[in-house]
């Protein structure tokens, strides 16, 4: 059982790291701010989610696990806030006026 959990942890964390790697490559290679933003939030949402999921069997339940999940939810909230703000800034900067509501 422990072996299975450990394998699960390794697989999930490695998969999460792949998303982070892809997100970083996208951040460096994509042509404009909006696509780069997409790459970054994808890494944060899915990559961090998979890392947290993988670490869940390794921490004390319930408080350790709940803290990890809260961490992921906070990162989601931050990403969901920064995305629209940056998008709004890009739109305004490119066109010189406010976007429609």
């Amino acid at each position: 059982m422990t072996l299975a959990l450990n394998v699960f942890t390794i697989v999930a964390v490695v998969l999460g790291l792949v998303f982070f790697l892809a997100g970083t490559v996208g951040l460096l290679r994509f042509p404009d701010t909006l696509t780069r933003l997409h790459a970054l939030t994808k890494a944060d949402n899915l990559g961090l989610g998979l890392v947290v999921l993988g670490l869940l069997p390794q921490v004390a339940w319930p408080f350790g696990g709940l803290k990890l999940i809260a961490l992921w939810l906070l990162a989601l909230l931050a990403g969901a806030t920064v995305g629209p703000l940056l998008g709004h800034a890009v739109w305004t900067h490119a066109r010189g006026r406010e976007p429609p509501p």
Binding site: L74, L77, P84, E98
Partner: protein, 310 residues
């Protein structure tokens, strides 16, 4: 080379790279972004140096609140006001001087005495009688309480200095510079969802500071950050700087600290001495009042001097 050392070397290289970027970036805005990232990585270094209390302070205050302050300043700089950079001669001389200072410090680091001197046994000797489990809180509130008392006064003095920079016609008004002109739905939602959670984290940091990393400064900083978030989103307005309530809140922490310190002459036999029987409740009362005053002071420091919006 062990794995931990390799990871630490990578961390140190990242920090140095970000510091170089902060120093030579083309725009002030870019430099500030570099500095914020630098601060968060330095917080990781504090964890590696077994100083978790410092790491919390660095992440919340040294990087977070300072970053907000510097970003605001960078956004308001005049665009075409870049002054001429100094000539090659001065830059070379500055480089030589800086390298010499750095080399001297590096030599000091390499020649530090082994084993390193320590005050840990002395500083922690009284912890059990105080009912504290976190040695850093013990130093802040008991062993070197006078430093902490003066520091809480420094925040009030800094605020007086900041307010005195207001123009005469603005005096007594609200420091409104933080409010975003057009916060947008996402920011307003964040300012509605996050503060209850942040409030919980801030109070938890203050409460757990007695036995685990945390304390008045870390908790107060998180509370201040939540307040500032609602200020930026325009959900709350900063108080008038002339108001009596805000001034009472500002001095409550230092005043209670000072009062209990003076009472120590009768109760414990010396200034800032705690009576053995009631040490824990007294310390908690001081920490609670300090947390509140620090949160208000930090928030008002970020809000800037009273005056019309720029």
């Amino acid at each position: 080379m062990s794995l931990a050392l390799a990871a630490d070397a990578g961390l140190a290289l990242l920090i140095l790279g970000l510091a170089v970027w902060t120093t030579i970036a083309r725009t002030a805005f870019g430099a500030v972004i570099g500095f914020m990232a630098y601060g968060f990585l330095v917080a990781l270094v504090w964890v590696r140096l077994a100083a978790v209390d410092v790491a919390l302070t660095e992440a919340a205050l040294g990087s977070g609140l300072t970053g907000v302050l510097l970003l605001g300043a960078a956004a308001r700089l005049p665009r075409d006001a870049a002054a001429a950079r100094p000539g090659w001669g001065l830059r070379l001389a500055a480089g030589v001087v800086s390298a010499a200072v750095a080399a001297g410090l590096a030599a000091v680091v390499l020649l530090l005495p082994v084993p390193g001197p320590t005050l840990a046994p002395v500083a922690t000797a009284t912890l059990p009688t105080l009912g504290l489990g976190n040695p850093v809180t013990g130093v802040l509130i008991a062993y070197r309480a006078i430093d902490t008392l003066l520091e809480s006064v420094v925040l009030v003095l800094a605020l007086i200095g900041l307010w005195s920079l207001a123009r005469d016609e603005d005096w007594g008004g609200r420091p409104d510079a933080l409010r975003a002109a057009n916060p947008g739905a996402a920011l307003v939602l964040l300012a509605q969802v996050l503060p209850p959670l942040g409030l919980l984290v801030g109070v938890h940091l203050f409460w757990t500071g007695a036995i685990a990393p945390g304390g008045a400064f870390q908790g107060g900083t998180v509370l201040a950050a939540m307040w500032v978030l609602t200020l930026v989103a325009g959900l709350t307005r900063p108080p008038r700087v002339g108001g009596r309530g805000v001034r009472l809140l500002l001095v409550a922490g230092p005043a209670l600290f000072l009062a209990i310190g003076v009472a120590g002459f009768w109760l414990g036999g010396a200034f800032l001495a705690y009576p053995a029987a009631d040490a824990k409740p007294l310390i908690l009362a001081i920490e609670a009042a300090l947390t509140l005053s620090i949160a208000v002071a930090l928030g008002l420091l970020l809000a800037g001097p009273p005056g019309a919006r720029e």
